[in-house]
């Protein structure tokens, strides 16, 4: 009952000189079970090798500006990898089926549900989580606007709301109320804070325009 398949992200890939190619058993820094083989990231010209069910493969995720090389199973969601493997628990679990928005992150600057995204599909892409909107310990403008406008109650949907707002404002820096509502339409707030959220997004637009 003891298959110790403890993935150690980032550190595991340390010391690899060739492009993504990692040997299997015996690579002490990785500690992968004998049962799980690894597949190297294929150079573009060659035929892709299928990753067998249950095996792990390497992905490179740039999360909040930091490149993370990780070993993941194909079925793992990006949400699971962010929270359970990278410890970034700001992104929340609400439904795991793309129906609530609590897990909203940015992928290449666009709002996406991390629960509906396989980690392997995010390979090579830039991911921004709510933690990534901070500068050190300073809140970003969108976060500040939500705080000032009391645009949350229990706060559980809030990181997702903030990311959706961020995505909206990066694409449209001066949205009107209708555009704000449309942009936030993929995030449920069960506490029903929507009216305050709309104000927060408008305020965030102001703060961003002012360079704050």
């Amino acid at each position: 009952m003891d298959h110790e398949n403890k993935d150690k992200p980032a550190a595991a890939a340390g010391g690899v000189s060739r492009r993504g190619f990692i040997t299997s058993v015996g690579s002490g820094a990785i500690g992968v079970a004998a049962a799980g083989a690894l597949v190297h990231g294929a150079p573009p010209q060659a035929q892709a090798e299928a990753v067998k069910a249950g095996d792990v493969s390497t992905v490179t995720l740039t999360v909040n500006g930091r490149r993370q090389k990780m070993l993941v199973e194909a079925r793992w969601s990006l949400l699971y990898v962010l929270r359970d493997h990278l410890g970034l628990t700001g992104t929340k679990v609400g439904c795991e089926r793309g129906e609530c928005g609590a897990c909203t992150v940015l992928i290449d600057g666009q709002a996406r549900y991390a629960c509906m995204t396989l980690a392997v599909e995010a390979d090579g892409h830039e991911i921004t989580t709510v933690e990534g909107l901070m500068t050190g310990e300073e809140l970003g403008p969108t976060q500040r606007a939500f705080a000032e406008e009391d645009a949350f109650q229990c706060g559980y949907c809030t990181p997702g709301q903030v990311m959706a707002a961020e995505s909206l404002l990066r694409a449209n820096p001066s949205p009107d109320l209708d555009q704000i509502r449309q942009g936030m339409a993929g995030n449920i707030c069960r506490c029903g804070t929507y009216a305050h959220i709309f104000k927060a997004v408008a305020k965030a637009a102001d703060l961003k325009r002012q360079g704050r």
């Binding site: 069910a53 709002a111 995204t117 959706a164």
Partner: protein
């Protein structure tokens, strides 16, 4: 949490086709429907074949003759925002803009939207229904408030796509490739009614993949649109929707294509209504007759009778919103 599967990301379409030869291989385009189906156990995936590397299937181009060419992996959000779509192909832009939610529009693709599986809660639930190879349709004697009023048979789903009715109204064609080669067929012929085969929604043969859609240049004076009626303002599929493409010449309707969503197992074209309209002036009397014609032959189930006045009202509202001149 998902069951395990093998995974491959082929570098070319031909490689993808080869990978799809395996039984149990499932295509991952945007993944929005695939992930949902796997979570609900609608089907199993022995192997997931990701189209993520196939950049040649992304993007929108306009041919010199005005034809719109959309790659299958173009996201719904890209289609909704593209300037070439918004102007002349308004029905498609409007349909794309009311699909699901912003995040799902960023992820979902046009190919996936056309090929998505139905949302029937029996199909998606722990029921071995007709469409999944069982011998019973649970909606027939059950909670069928969201099911069809036209075209039903051994199965009474509605097709959930918004873009499909809009594209059919715009007379689009779909490009398909498979082990036996490539083909291009009108999108209107892409869908399968239960009377023909209650276990699939499209004519795609095993191993076939949608490459893209082609939308012919619009006639001068054509206007189009898509109106969706649903219980909530976001996420929900249509209780009923209407795509229209109408061309007026000298105050008369020169051409009309009307396609309903949410009322039949396939996007539901209204040829009888179109025939009524063509050659006529658009006035309230004509609109009333058109609305009556649209619901002729409707076969509501126990709980979805409201769809009949809904379709009637949609025709009235949409046609009523087209300026007569």
């Amino acid at each position: 949490m998902l069951r395990t599967f093998a995974y491959v990301r082929p570098a070319s379409v031909s490689e993808a086709l080869k990978q799809m030869e395996d039984r149990g291989a499932r295509l991952h385009a945007g993944g929005t429907d695939l992930i949902g189906c796997l979570r609900d156990g609608v089907f199993e995936a022995g192997k997931v074949v990701s189209l993520g590397k196939l950049d040649e299937l992304r993007g929108i181009t306009v041919a010199p003759d005005g034809e719109l060419r959309i790659g299958a992996l173009t996201t719904i959000a890209e289609i909704a925002a593209h300037p070439a779509v918004a102007g002349k192909f308004a029905a498609l832009a409007q349909a794309a803009s009311v699909v699901a939610s912003p995040q799902l529009r960023n992820q979902g693709t046009i190919g996936g939207n056309l090929c998505q599986r139905p949302r029937c809660w029996y199909f998606r639930g722990d029921y071995h229904c007709t469409r999944k190879g069982g011998d019973m349709c649970y909606a027939l004697g059950g909670e069928n408030q969201y099911h069809c009023i036209f075209g039903g048979g051994a199965c009474v789903i509605v097709h959930p796509s918004d873009t499909a009715p809009a594209l059919i109204a715009l007379d689009a064609k779909v490009r398909i490739i498979g082990p036996k080669g490539a083909r291009v067929i009108p999108l209107e012929q892409f869908y399968v009614l239960p009377e023909k085969d209650a276990t699939r929604e499209t004519v795609l043969e095993p191993g076939e993949v949608v490459l893209g859609v082609l939308v012919p240049a619009t006639a001068p004076g054509q206007r189009s649109g898509y109106r969706k009626v649903r219980a909530r303002g976001s996420w929900d599929f249509a209780m009923a929707g209407l795509a229209h493409a109408v061309t007026l010449k000298a105050g008369k309707i020169a051409d009309a294509r009307l396609v309903l969503s949410g009322v039949a197992p396939a996007p539901w074209r209204l040829p009888a209504v179109e025939k009524l309209l063509i050659g006529q002036k658009l006035d309230p009397k004509l609109i009333a007759r058109a609305a009556d014609a649209a619901i002729a032959g409707a076969k509501p189930l126990e709980h979805n009778g409201y769809k009949v006045p809904l379709v009637h009202g949609l025709i009235e509202e949409v046609l009523g919103g087209i300026p007569a001149a």
